[in-house]
Symmetry: C2
Amino acid sequence: MGTNTIDDLCINTIRFLAVDAVQKANSGHPGTPMGAAPMAYVLWDRFLKHNPSDPKWPDRDRFVLSPGHASAMLYALLHLTGYDLPLDEIKRFRQWESKTPGHTEYGLTPGVEATTGPLGQGFANGVGMAIAERWLAEHYNQPGYEIINHYTYAIVSDGDLEEGVSSEAASLAGTLRLGKIIYLYDDNDISIEGNTDIAFAENVAQRFQAYGWHVIGPIDGMDTSAVESAIRMAQSETSRPSLIVCRTIIGYGSPHKAGTAAAHGEPLGEEEIRLTKERLAWPYDEPFTVPPESLAHFRQAQERGKLWQEQWQAKLEEYRQAHPDEYQKLEVDLCGDLPEGWDSALTDLFSAADKPVATREASGRAMNAISKTVHAFTGGSADLAPSTKTLLKDHGHYGFEEYYGHNMHFGVREHAMGAIANGMSLHGGIIPYTGTFLIFYDYMRPPIRLAALMGIRVIYIFTHDSIGLGEDGPTHQPIEQLMGLRSVPNLVTIRPADATETVEAWKVALERRNAPTALVLSRQNLPILDRTTLSSARSLRHGGYILWEASATPDVILMSSGSEVHIALDAGRQLQGKGIAARVVSLPSWELFEAQTSEYRNQVLPPEIRARVSLEAGIPLGWERYVGLDGVVVGIPRFGASAPASVVYEKLGLTAERMVKEALGLLQGRNT
Amino acid sequence: MGTNTIDDLCINTIRFLAVDAVQKANSGHPGTPMGAAPMAYVLWDRFLKHNPSDPKWPDRDRFVLSPGHASAMLYALLHLTGYDLPLDEIKRFRQWESKTPGHTEYGLTPGVEATTGPLGQGFANGVGMAIAERWLAEHYNQPGYEIINHYTYAIVSDGDLEEGVSSEAASLAGTLRLGKIIYLYDDNDISIEGNTDIAFAENVAQRFQAYGWHVIGPIDGMDTSAVESAIRMAQSETSRPSLIVCRTIIGYGSPHKAGTAAAHGEPLGEEEIRLTKERLAWPYDEPFTVPPESLAHFRQAQERGKLWQEQWQAKLEEYRQAHPDEYQKLEVDLCGDLPEGWDSALTDLFSAADKPVATREASGRAMNAISKTVHAFTGGSADLAPSTKTLLKDHGHYGFEEYYGHNMHFGVREHAMGAIANGMSLHGGIIPYTGTFLIFYDYMRPPIRLAALMGIRVIYIFTHDSIGLGEDGPTHQPIEQLMGLRSVPNLVTIRPADATETVEAWKVALERRNAPTALVLSRQNLPILDRTTLSSARSLRHGGYILWEASATPDVILMSSGSEVHIALDAGRQLQGKGIAARVVSLPSWELFEAQTSEYRNQVLPPEIRARVSLEAGIPLGWERYVGLDGVVVGIPRFGASAPASVVYEKLGLTAERMVKEALGLLQGRNT
């Protein structure tokens, strides 16, 4: 590299903003910014189509920093190119309520496209974004109107490529031939325990070729012209995703830490910073210095961005004239609104006269009704569509050189499915859903947590929700997964009791624009509750409600969710036969119930009534919230067993008789 | 394939036992057994070193059926070769308390080496077994005494290879050059949603070459001689793991279902079975027929196995004479006992006079003490050893062509780490531990659940256990993970309050021979509790205990775990200053506490004292178990935030002042 060129100056500006931010915070990761600044600079300076004044411009290129711990580098780029991120925020790196948290957070910092940090997630998010881009392009572009046409770029690290989720996503991206993915692999050979040789000796380039990727390099990732040519080469390949292997040096410039794990996760230290500035011929002792020439160069991004977006806007206006119907649909898809009357097809989908139906089946029918009015509704299953009932009929399949279909085939890859769905939602234009068995929630917890943290709309369909799946046995019977879903902040979990609650659950899920929703559904058939004699299923949106009661002043409250509500109802009626007044409460969604007024909640669960029995086909832990110290929680404090569903229910004591017995015990003061 | 040879007869015996079992159960997966029976037969008939009469013989070859849904095939093999699995058990396939559950379960069926079913797990378990084999061989084999010398075989499916966990494990196995792994890949192109082309078009052979594997094939996986040569070729390669790509036809023989997803997960049906028997020239209409020639052939395995084990036993006896010290150590390692006095080095490791120390640091010191006496104690971290403090000093590193070390480097692969640790434990001879941040529990839930289900000893070290990690922010701050651990049946979770509890926690963990334990540890320093004025840390093994109280008849109970116990203690003393008698209960392990007598539990938490306040840096959900409807749960019902730890604690209201305020409120009847 030459010295004192504008490129070097700009690259060092990024480096030292990051280094100084970490030093001031006395916490953070300087090493990656120092090594990856050149590639990031080339990408942002010569390729990235974006408009710092409008971070939400729909046709911008997407850029994901998968190693979110290198956040300071991205903050530097955002500040320098003119996003609404003042230098003061960089000085408040990692402080309370700053816009510059330790790892990049979507929604907090303008220009941050995804919350990253847990490794591998950003890699897969980018695949989701590229899927969405291609899907929208297929649906809306017309000859002469490339309304949707952008790249998805990412920087990915060794750690990202070691995580299995990136393998899953890469394999799918190769299968789908997503040619507008361009990833820069920051190949620096260092991870926290030392040289990657100790655990990661594989040939990454060959592995990605095996996935069907176009692999470029290894190149010198700190040589700006090499990076530039490589990105051009990647752009010219349109039918395979590209991975550019960029050899870099972590902590580049630091005399004592460069190329070692010591550069990764702690401040360089004042003295080492001084030496590094000397080594890189950076003449500014003062921290957070941005040389005016550097700033002026970076800020050209504003003018470029403005122009790009104006041209796009003009084109869009022509499109509106030429293709008014498509334009309108595109607008709806992009803004994420539900079209008026979208839920009309959901009205009276089921009645008590119908035969018993599994809630997974009811869900499938609701989904197909929704797909008739909500165009953006798109998703798929992790190789379980026939079982999760998530197929949208007559809506095609995404893939096979055909990007129009609404039905995604994620393969046996729950983890990537979740992370890809996040990317689809983050991109915009799609309301994504995923499908698998509830037990496999365990495989996809990290992306679901991130969806909740980011506040994005993704709908998770989890079927085979209990021991009710029967013979497949304990490896497939969820026990602790339902409570696990309930434990995630900002996630709403709904476990409907029958087909009518299932329809209402779908309405809630779609209307939650800024947060994810999990639907927990039965494999087994369930009677449709007769709403002419029971409370309306519309009460589902309160999370919990009185389904039935023998008297407005009950002796005992019976509570349940999902398939076990029918057991509670049976128990309530048995108790009535014994002259005991029970109230049966359906609690399909704890989060929705908690969001109600305390007045409402006290109406459903009057504090003075302490004789309470809950029954659910899952762990007891958690139910004490509603049952208290004086009631009885009936649950499954063990793993399940392989046998026909009815046998497992019986053997594990999940019966109306058990509930009756516990209620009687409480009322006779035996169980206090 | 010829017809009517003994091979064909035996292969068809396996096929039809599986087909008939599925049909009788009216549930299960016939397709894989029908396609994979030839490769399984060749492996078991001509290679597998095992002794059906002693499924625990330490030097047997290990065989893992990673697609656990093909369980009926393994049950057939076990029955036919003479394990203690009568035909009647196969007839009771998937029934309550049979030894033939829907997916293979370790501990339930003799000869089943691992519980499989969730895809990818078995693949990684095998890697753990091979790691253990090599480790033991390096430690104990002597010239002329190959006491430990066996292969690890597995059958793996498309679904296994799509899951990220198998990618992680494969990359590590390649790096470690584990030459005695031989996996047969049942490459049948079919998964549940149809042809694997829709989601899995990668070049698997090339991918495994990239990992450093020796790839053989594709071969015709239903041609016995091709399979036989391939396995021989794999055995001759000693420095790379081998993958044999076996092309097969799912549901082979079924005229209407072979080669389709319809063969996968449901019974063939009576009529289709009839046609299949016809097609495969199987003359027995009667289900579960085992032709005598077939049985006789299979049962030769008993004689072979007996001979193998006798020879080994004789060799071992010579070894005992020649290397008495090694023999003794080997015996201890293999039986899994802790040597007498193993915990002596843990006595008085810390005292209140010491400076505050993070429990992760205390754990690291305890581990190093343990490693002096417990030879089998071996494990590692997912690229976080410097942070998790899990390095065993002077115990070497496993890898680098050196298999003697106790320190494993799993790479950034939490999921595979968990599944590999399961394999190490299942193999025997090693007491494995893993290390990562608590937040990454989410990446490794599936194998932890399986360890709990299998009842095997694995110790999970989770550090950086709360918002106390500070600046890394919400992506790295666990909120719901601690309660998540508590929700897994058969797993004991311990969150010690200080160094002294940490030492006791390690004792409990090692002594739990038949179940896993999770240790949840702080990043931040914590004062060492003065046990001369407080209860002894030995009470930790009761799970919960009265740490301190102002009076034996307290007005209010304050409860907490881990780092927040110090806050509760502070609050208790503040209340004392206000003339209110508080009891402070440390609850490091809910599972251990629940295992106590109700008498003990009522002593610690007297049912009549309803003024109760809990405080923990995690979700409130779950604490109602001990707090009831009348107390106050202080927790974090949201995600964390990036800021210095003390600021985050303060801003989220996790303070002694808050606890005091809530206690006063309860006592004044304001919060009821």
